[in-house]
């Protein structure tokens, strides 16, 4: 079969089983768009800004486990995609980004809409390619998908000069079934000896805790994690990225850990004598002050990326491998072995944890006559019966969603953890809804974040992706305001906007339904009404308590046991703001 470069790209995507291509046309990709026009296998989703394309594809990948695919033009199209590429990179999300480039003969001449995409993206991709020969196009695309989806996943950029996709040059096409690369062989199985050592430490621990992260979700190892945790009867905490890998409503789950983790999770980490980190990377938002991190604990760390091991926290038993086969092997050893955890020690440990739990750190003022953001999330959980896929933006609302919406299954909590990208939530919800048209999808956001990619409301209408936007509108960049309250004597420097659009009218202008809610008693009925509108995107603007803060909080540079708790329910919220 002889095909031109543009046809090769589309045929390759088809062979990879790509359903959706999120993109935006431009000069350097016109040949490609002509090839898109002439096929029906891959559905192109036209976004309104390239950042939206990357976030939508990224969220599609997070929700489905399949790689997200993006097509952007050269120059500004490519640079607009960079934030989304970096977002995926920080959270290890498999993505393939095809960017147009100016034609080979003019590369380097500062041609119209030329940027060095390979250079710009180098620090925020797993790998990138510049295709210089149409004969290598198919193999390069195959490599891109292979690299993006194996080992520790990540985004891969394929930069394609315009002349490579020219309709005038046809070459024989055969999509390779597989590729092997001498320089890339990610480890799968963990080292058997290390796994055995880990099991010995595990069964002998007095105050153990399982600390699992996004790697369990990326590695589709949720079932194994649940089995492993229940066999041991140990407490388990999840990172922000790992929520849903273990059921959030299970009694062994002690909540999220880290900066806005629960009191019991952070205290249990601090006091533990053994932590087993599974697909988690000891992010600074998790560890707090490194020199005081888990001072009494030995550390077992399972990770597919050797560079994650002992990067910030020294590990006693490193296990390099995919989480799923390693956990399977550990479960086998536990089943075969006679050694069981010390019942007495475990009972004492759980007693201690339950005392920390009794602090009830997530309690808030339920009597307030203002809408509490926590209450909105709790009601969202009730109305969706905990079955929705929730995307979020970045800030206070993100933390509240993580704290008050327990996720019982993986791939239901879609947020930008590592990069913390405002503007992620709305395009992400569109990407998820395309993949799961029959599942409720809600985007929890705030009035600042939502404005960063608000233009995608138009995409949501075009592709009929009925999502529910839960806008926790406190008229502040809430998380910035919170830090300014705590660390800058309440000097609220530019953390509010003097003008905020009328979101109801805005939603209507984009062809959707808008609602504004100002009283707590209207929260539940409004949510019910919104979710009853099955085929409409609904923007619900909740006017929430302006002064609410996220608690508990480990302030920057402090240790796990040094948490700021809500002083007494309600008291902080009554404070007058300057």
């Amino acid at each position: 079969m002889e095909l031109n470069g543009a046809q090769i790209v589309m045929q390759s995507l088809k062979e990879e089983g790509v359903e959706f291509l999120f993109g935006y046309p431009g000069g350097a990709v016109l040949h490609l768009y002509d090839a898109i026009f002439q096929q029906d296998d891959v559905k192109h989703i036209l976004v309104r800004h390239e950042q939206g394309a990357t976030h939508a594809a990224d969220a599609y990948a997070r929700a489905t486990g399949k790689p997200g695919v993006v097509l952007v033009t050269s120059g500004p199209g490519a640079t607009n995609a960079v934030t989304g590429i970096a977002t995926a990179y920080m959270d290890s999300i498999p993505m393939v980004i095809i960017s147009g480039q100016v034609s080979l003969p003019v590369i380097g001449s500062d041609a119209f809409q030329e940027v060095d995409m390979v250079g710009i993206t180098r620090p925020c991709v797993k790998h990138n390619f510049l295709v210089k020969d149409v004969n290598q196009l198919a193999e390069t695309i195959k490599k891109a998908f292979y690299i993006a989806t194996t080992g520790r996943p990540g985004p891969v950029v394929v930069d394609i000069p315009k002349d490579i996709t020219s309709p005038l040059v046809k070459v024989p096409f055969k999509y390779p079934k597989k590729v092997s690369m001498r320089s890339y062989n990610p480890a799968v199985q963990g080292h058997k000896g290390q796994i055995k050592r880990a099991i010995d430490l595990l069964v002998n621990a007095q105050r153990p805790i399982i600390y699992s992260g996004g790697g369990v979700i990326l590695g589709n190892a949720s079932e194994e994690l649940i089995k492993f945790t229940r066999m041991l009867e140990y407490p388990i905490t999840n990172t922000l990225m790992g929520l849903g890998a273990y059921p959030g409503t299970d009694p062994q789950f002690v909540g999220m850990l880290g900066m806005h983790g629960t009191y019991e999770a952070n205290m249990a980490m601090h006091e533990s004598d053994l932590i087993i980190a599974i697909g988690a990377r000891f992010d600074d938002r998790v560890t707090g002050k490194l020199t005081e991190f888990c001072p009494y604990a030995q550390v077992i760390h399972i990770d597919v990326d050797p560079a994650s091991i002992s990067k910030t926290v020294k590990v006693d038993v490193p296990i390099v491998g995919e989480v799923k086969p390693v956990l399977e092997h550990m479960i086998e050893l536990l089943e075969e072995g006679k050694k069981r955890p010390n019942k007495k020690a475990l009972e004492a440990w759980w007693n201690q944890i339950n005392q920390w739990r009794a602090v009830n750190c997530l309690e808030y003022d339920r009597e307030s006559n203002l809408i509490k953001p926590q209450y909105v999330i709790e009601q969202l959980y009730q109305v969706t019966k905990g079955d929705a896929i929730i995307t979020s933006d970045v800030g206070q609302h993100q933390m509240w969603a993580a704290q008050y919406y327990p996720f019982d299954k993986p791939r239901r909590w879609i947020n930008s953890g590592g990069l913390g990208t405002m503007g992620f939530g709305l395009p992400a919800a569109i990407g998820v809804k395309l993949a799961f048209p029959d599942t409720e999808v809600a985007c929890v956001t705030g009035e600042a974040s939502i404005q960063m990619c608000i233009q995608e409301l138009s995409t949501a209408l075009q592709y009929k992706t009925p999502i529910k936007i839960i806008n926790l509108n406190n008229r502040y960049m809430g998380m910035v305001r919170q830090w300014q309250e705590f660390s800058y004597e309440s000097r609220y420097s530019h953390s509010y906007m003097d003008t905020i659009p009328d979101f109801v009218k805005l939603a209507e202008a984009y062809g959707h339904v808008g609602m504004r809610i100002e009283k707590p008693e209207d929260v539940r009925p409004t949510l019910e009404a919104a979710f009853a509108l099955k085929d409409r995107t609904v923007f619900i603007d909740f006017m929430t308590d302006r002064t609410e803060n996220v608690y508990p909080m480990i302030e920057a540079g402090k240790a796990h046991h040094d948490m700021k708790l809500r002083v007494a329910p309600g008291t902080l919220t009554d404070r007058e703001l300057a």
């Binding site: 250079g119 180098r122 620090p123 320089s183 890339y184 990326d305 050797p306 560079a307 002992s310």
Partner: protein, 163 residues
Amino acid sequence: MRHMIAILIENESGALSRVAGLFSARGYNIQSLTVAPTEDPSLSRMTLVTCGSEEIIEQITKQLNKLIDVVKLIDLAESVHIERELMLIKVKATEHTREELKRLVDIFRGKIIDVTSTSYVIEMTGSTDKLDAFMSTLDPAHLIEVVRSGPIGISRGEKGLHL
């Protein structure tokens, strides 16, 4: 501590910038970096001298290994190895200094490879320490130009870095 890392890397455009970019992005130190194709033209060998604590060096080797273009690497500091660096020095060689310079070059087993009525070009190879020692014998006022290749290294014995 000083470490010498030898890297086999795909001989492709951009491979060098991936290594250099990694060091600048993560704040690692590069003391010297040399690179040239190997006997297999699809591979380049890079020799990188860096310094840092054991933890930092461990991270550097892991992060280098993570680069898709890196095929294989070793930290030569972990075994007995030989290092050589090449240096070319252009010095003023006037009536008063010509003889003395010639003797010094001989003592250090260097060679004078270009001569004019007023200058010499000296070629010197050896360990970095030896080149430093030679430099310290020269009067800075006589130096016109110094160029050093950065050290390269190879492990002793039968074992080698190859595919």
